[in-house]
């Protein structure tokens, strides 16, 4: 097992679309002077003593262009507050938020309005549709407040409504739609202005499990087309594993680990993270790269790619009963993967499955 070979998340090399440094959000009286007045960051006990709620504590993150970045944590861990700090819906008590190289917290009200109108979109847990408007008008609303001419905005609204699969329901009102359909409207509305940065705050948590599944698949389909930079909040670790390029795990306002799903599973930073990852099916998150061993000779039954998930190649490898070669795009041999290792992983035996 060559754990050290696992790279630090492929996306890290791309430029950061959005980053935040040492962001704090404390709720309570005189939070700012409390924080400014001390040389070292306060711990939980100090906050409790001052009667403050540390909703977000010293969070530093980089979200790369085009990745799905997921913030995962239990209810009350500060995910929504963090998201709202990043979108500047609430002012952080301290810290810096940088969006496309500019300091978001220094932007004036007019500049913020401009940025939000053209570069940001948000989807809400309870949909937040306007009850008095039809689907078409709801989706066209962000364009309407920018005074985009009526023909143009309705045409654009129809386009995104079709994109989310609601064609034919343009004239319906929110109260006539099911939860899943309402959230599709919410998604269409947030996409109407063609944002670069897309915030989703537990978008599927209010939906039934089956619908939730369907919507996750839908999101993956959309992302394959649109390639937005996505910050996605969830309390559901399975959802996070399914969708994420990278995951940040939050607890009591602090981010305790950031990494790809594979990294979290293989090297949980704390017992708390390990607790989450315990029941995850390893084959679904682990890639060939982390299970392969040095190439040993000839007689391979076939070739697989290092970034493929074990679950995707397991049947093939086990059926063949022989090792497969692992090769990258250029065809260079990186190692080999044995049926025994795959089997061990699948039944939860051996070093990686422990």
């Amino acid at each position: 097992m060559a754990l050290a070979q696992v790279p630090i998340g492929a996306s890290a090399e791309k430029p950061a679309k959005l980053s935040c440094k040492h962001v704090w959000k404390l709720f309570g009286q005189n939070a700012e002077s409390f924080l400014a007045g001390r040389p070292t960051p306060p711990d939980a006990a100090a906050l409790a003593e001052a009667g403050l709620v540390g909703a977000v504590r010293d969070v530093t993150l980089d979200v790369a262009e085009g990745e799905i970045f997921i913030v995962m944590g239990l209810s009350g861990s500060g995910k929504s507050t963090l998201l709202r700090c990043l979108a500047r819906l609430i002012e952080p008590t301290a810290g810096q938020v940088v969006f496309e190289g500019r300091d978001l917290l220094k932007a004036s009200e007019a500049e913020m309005i401009d940025i939000r109108r053209h570069k940001m979109g948000m989807v809400f847990q309870n949909f937040a549709l306007l009850p008095h408007l039809s689907v078409l008008d709801n989706v066209a609303f962000p364009l309407a407040i920018q005074s985009v001419p009526k023909d143009k905005r309705l045409a654009r609204a129809r386009e995104v409504i079709e994109l989310v699969g609601l064609k034919g329901r343009e004239g319906a009102y929110p109260r006539e739609l099911s939860g899943g359909q309402q959230q599709r409207v919410g998604i269409a509305r947030s996409l109407a202005v063609g944002p670069d940065l897309w915030f989703l705050d537990e978008p599927f948590s209010a939906l039934d499990p089956l619908i939730r599944r369907e919507m996750q698949t839908e999101l993956q389909r959309l992302q394959a087309v649109l390639k937005k930079t996505i910050i996605f909040i969830t309390h559901d670790f399975d959802e996070a594993i399914r969708l994420a390029d990278r995951i940040a795990i939050m607890k009591d306002g602090a981010v305790i680990q950031t990494g790809t799903p594979e990294e979290l599973v293989l090297r949980p930073a704390t017992e708390y993270v390990a607790e989450f990852t315990r029941d995850v099916q390893r084959a679904k998150v682990m890639s060939v790269r982390s299970l392969m061993r040095p190439a040993n000779g000839a007689g391979y039954a076939g070739t697989v790619r290092p970034e493929q998930k074990i679950a995707a190649i397991a049947a093939q490898v086990i059926e063949a009963g022989k090792p497969f070669a692992v090769a990258d795009e250029s065809g260079a041999l990186l190692g080999e993967i044995a049926p025994q290792a795959v089997l061990d992983l699948l039944i939860g035996r051996g070093p990686a499955g422990a």
Binding site: L89, R116, M120, F127, I145, G171, Y173
Partner: protein, 663 residues
């Protein structure tokens, strides 16, 4: 009101109870032997603060500077008022003199058709039928002309009041300090100071012009709109607000395109209340010059014409019911779902049809008089029947009514009155303070003491005590009637339905109307006032009792049944104790209702603060009216805060968290 410790053995000394006994004893002693401490028993004359005179002087001094502003304000409001009166009631004369040609007013047939259509558009057949019958009632019973004058006033007051309330509410929402330091105290005062009292400064500033009743009515009817607006805006889900911000709305866009449309249902409840309060005010408005139904009621009351008064009063009720149901239906109506691209006439069939009928019937009216005015041979009057009925009752049952009257006076009213009049003012103030301290804290103690002391400070102690005496007896009787009725309503479906209809009707009747039959049967005096007040104030006692019993968690009842409790045991040991906080709030409302009715009963000759206000009104004595009005308001606020604190304490003792939004 003491903390009872149930631990046997070392029972702590009940200091709270001992405090009560000591204070009560001292007060009684002072009351019986006035000579002990004369200044504590009767407030000394030289100590009276001349606040009333100072306020009057201040108003007189500022009148000259304010005159241009008030004139301009009147002129602006005069325009829509004249237009509405012309449209509904008087037409638009095109020249001077009564015979000059005129653009006619709207045809009565057209108006009846239009309100029926509006009812149908918003509430279907049922609301259409209610609107039709109510307006047809106005026509058939010969009330059309005064009713249209009243409707014209309503048609101006409601939009003005609703818009003003909306703007103040929005300002309060945006600026929390403005809300808590200016708007809320002002609303509290406007809603507890009797309307009679604050129309005096309005009358003083604006004079006897047609606009003055309009302004007074708006001041009276607007507060619920302000409250509804701030409440509605605060209730818009945070996510919807955040969506607005994320969509890049400017502040104005956020308000007009997101917050207000999402808050519309609650806002419409506010509008509904503005309508109801406007109609409530029409009789008082007619005292300062408004024409219409209110004037007829007042005229009938002054001339003891019961039949005429009842018909006009019922006409106000009919108008109130119609407008109430129409506005409620409009508030609840979900917007029709039009697919994009529906042409205008398909979107608004009711609107176009209504306008067409109005135009056609009004045009016809220029040729056919029957369309222009209700033909006299079509109208009926029941006035002689009512007059006859009262005469018959008075002839046949006079002795019984007289006996009841005398009994009430000798055995209940007079003893309580004497006791309260002999109560030393200092004792009353200290008792209020002690109650405030025991129920909550020092702050409430100071507040209660200050509020109760105010009437003494301004030299109105005796009148205040007469107010307290009437209000107290009325509240007790209302509770003795209302609470059992409420209990019965929770146990009998049949009775519940009946009481709902009765209570709803009682609440839409203008308070003056209660007075008319009672005056006829009991003549003027305290008993008449008492009965009218009880009829008005019994409704909250019933409603809150029902509410309190209904909100007892069902699993507790099930547990009681499972333990083998009888129905009586369940009522006395489970339902009533748990409903007690709500019932206390009902008593609180009963007292406030009684106080507001009390001022009106001054018309039938009580000698309380109401009379003081009424005298000030006839003399347009601003200071005197304001001070007397403040006394009434302060008594009400003191009772309100003490009872709320009491209910809160009970709730905590029962381990129920405070529920917001009651009362």
């Amino acid at each position: 009101m003491t903390d009872t410790a149930l631990t046997s053995g070392s029972r702590p000394i009940p200091w709270g109870r001992i405090g009560w006994l000591l204070l009560l004893g001292a007060t009684l002693a002072l009351g019986i032997w006035h000579g002990l401490l004369p200044w504590a028993a009767d407030y000394p004359k030289p100590w009276v603060l001349p606040l009333a005179k100072q306020i009057t002087t201040l108003f007189k001094a500022s009148l000259d500077t304010l005159m241009p502003a008030t004139r301009a304000f009147s002129a602006v409001l005069q325009v829509p008022l004249d237009f509405a009166i012309g449209l509904f009631a008087k037409g638009f004369p095109l020249g001077p003199g009564p015979d000059a040609p005129a653009i006619p007013r709207l045809s009565w047939i057209g108006i009846i058709a239009a309100v029926t259509l509006i009812g149908h558009a918003y509430g279907g057949r049922k609301v259409a039928a209610i609107a039709f019958f109510c307006f047809a009632y106005l026509a058939v019973f010969g009330q059309w002309n005064p009713a249209m004058l009243t409707l014209a006033l309503v048609a101006v007051c409601v939009p003005v009041g609703a818009l003003l309330g909306l703007f103040i509410g929005v300002a309060a929402y945006r600026n929390p300090r403005f809300d808590s330091y200016v708007v809320r105290p002002a609303l509290d005062l406007l809603q507890t100071v009797p309307a009679f009292a604050y129309i005096i400064p309005i009358l003083f500033l604006f004079g006897f012009t047609p606009v003055t009743p309009l302004i007074a009515t708006v001041a009276f009817a607007m507060p619920p709109m302000v409250r509804a607006t701030t409440l509605a805006l605060h209730r818009v889900p945070a996510e919807i607000q955040e969506f607005g911000a994320m969509a890049g709305c400017t502040r104005a866009q956020l308000l007009w395109r997101i917050l207000l449309p999402s808050a519309k249902p609650t806002l419409m409840i506010g509008v509904n209340q503005v309508i109801m309060l406007t109609l409530n005010m029409v009789i008082i408005a007619s005292m300062i010059g408004a024409e219409g139904l209110g004037f007829d009621v007042l005229f009938a009351l002054r001339n003891q014409k019961i039949g005429v008064g009842l018909e006009a009063g019922l006409a106000i009720t009919a108008l109130a019911i119609a407008l109430d149901r129409l506005s409620q239906a409009a508030a609840e109506a979900k917007p029709a779902l039009y697919r994009p691209g529906t042409p205008f006439h398909r979107r608004h069939p009711h609107l176009l049809l209504g306008l067409a009928i109005l135009a056609a019937t009004t045009l016809l009216g220029t040729f056919l008089p029957a369309f222009a005015a209700v033909p006299p041979e079509m109208t009926v009057t029941t006035a002689p029947v009512w007059d006859g009925l009262v005469k018959w009752i008075n002839v046949n049952f006079f002795d019984y009514f007289e006996a009841l009257r005398t009994f009430l006076l000798i055995w209940i009213l007079n003893p309580v009155k004497l006791t309260l009049l002999n109560l030393p003012w200092l004792g009353a103030v200290l008792l209020a303070a002690y109650a405030g301290w025991r129920l909550r804290d020092k702050g409430l103690a100071m507040l209660a003491a200050g509020l109760i002391a105010f009437p003494a400070l301004v030299g109105l102690w005796d009148k205040a005590m007469i107010t307290v005496y009437l209000c107290f007896i009325a509240a007790v009787i209302s509770c003795l009637i209302g609470i059992p009725l409420g209990v019965v309503a929770t146990r009998s479906r049949w009775f519940d339905r009946v009481q709902q209809v009765v209570v709803d009707t009682l609440q839409t009747l203008p308070s003056f109307v209660y007075l008319i039959p009672v005056v006829m049967l009991f003549r003027v005096g305290d008993v008449t006032a008492l009965i009218a007040i009880v009829a008005f104030a019994v409704t909250p006692a019933i409603r809150y009792t029902i509410h309190g019993i209904r909100q007892v968690p069902p699993h507790l009842i099930e547990a009681a049944i499972a333990t083998g409790c009888t129905r009586g045991q369940i009522l006395w040991r489970v339902q009533l104790p748990l409903a007690l906080p709500e019932i206390m709030l009902g008593i609180n409302q009963t007292i406030l209702f009684a106080l507001s009715m009390l001022v009106i009963t001054a018309l039938v000759g009580t000698r309380d603060l109401g009379q003081e206000v009424y005298i000030a009104l006839t003399k347009v004595d601003t200071g005197r009216g304001i001070i007397a009005g403040l006394c009434v308001a302060f008594l009400g606020i003191a009772a309100d805060r003490l009872l709320r604190a009491g209910a809160e304490r009970f709730r905590r003792r029962l381990g129920i968290a405070a529920r917001a939004g009651m009362g």
